[in-house]
Symmetry: C2
DNA sequence: GTAGGAATTGGAATAATTCTAATTCTTAAT
DNA sequence: ATTAAGAATTAGAATTATTCCAATTCCTAC
């Protein structure tokens, strides 16, 4: 388990290690994404962050998100025509978008399968990113709740 | 090969077979998507359609597209934060988005592989759609142009 | 301590899409 | 043929997510 302090230090360290200035705004945005692992949208993040830092602006949230994404600390996840969501899981993984609840779940993808996907591409095609997403409903299993 | 007339009749038939009124607007929108297999956006479609039918409105293009998509005559394709594109290829397939040229290419996916993808989902997860897309660059092969 | 660049801020601007309410078309019955 | 009723089209306004802008504030290296 990480203490809150330890956690915050780790977080600060991840920013500085990446060559980013650990501004309070970046830290709180990053923290919120790491804590709520629910793939929040920019303005969900804005709302949560504002509770801790009432002076922060939405523009700054967008700026921080862009920085975090560009530096590989956070992943950006897009669904059909919906607002962009942000994910702290850096493993290559897929997403399941529950069309009933709106929830987004991470789906692990074996590297083995990823290379099979890459192999679909004709010669000369070089993919820098693969995006795999499922949409549907996740029924609770009978006997589980 | 299909003559233009034959083509137009087929197209009309596909609309009526689906239970849709074959309005001139729907026909021309559909025709444009079938001809230009380049995954055009709504306003690229609007521009092309307008040449043949100068009075059509953008709202109608959007309405037609929605109808065609809902009735399974055309597929909708979304990339990162870019405008929605439309694809007449009804086979389940993936897309390669060339980040240099902006072009979009269809990638065929064996059903076998699709079921492996489905198998990634935990029990109780039922996917009504799977989206797979690649982003990267497609270098022309040496010796080919 | 200061200068210079980096980051933040509020508000305006943009871009894609959807909504609204009025008009025009089609269709199917009379 | 006429007509009523519903369907589709239209122009323009509205919405939403995101980006841009210019001014201010903040840090950091000297
Ligand atoms: Mn939101
Ligand atoms: Mn466009
Ligand atoms: Zn995720
Ligand atoms: Zn396609």
């Amino acid at each position: 388990m990480h203490s809150p302090t330890e956690n915050r230090d780790t977080l600060t360290k991840r920013l500085t290690d990446t060559g980013l200035r650990p501004t309070p705004q970046r830290e709180v945005v990053f923290k919120v994404i790491l804590e709520k692992r629910t793939h929040p949208t920019a303005d969900e993040i804005f709302a949560m962050v504002k509770a801790q830092m009432p002076t922060i602006s939405l523009a700054t949230v967008y700026n921080c998100l862009e920085t975090l994404v560009q530096n590989g600390l956070v992943r950006q996840v897009n669904f059909d025509r919906a607002p962009t969501r942000y994910c702290p899981n850096l493993h290559e993984h897929a997403h399941f978008h529950d069309e009933v609840t709106g929830e987004v779940h991470d789906i692990e993808v074996p590297v083995e399968l990823l290379s099979q996907l890459r192999a679909l591409l004709p010669a000369g095609y070089d993919a820098s990113a693969i995006e795999l997403s499922f949409r549907g409903k996740a029924s609770p299993l009978p006997g589980h709740n």
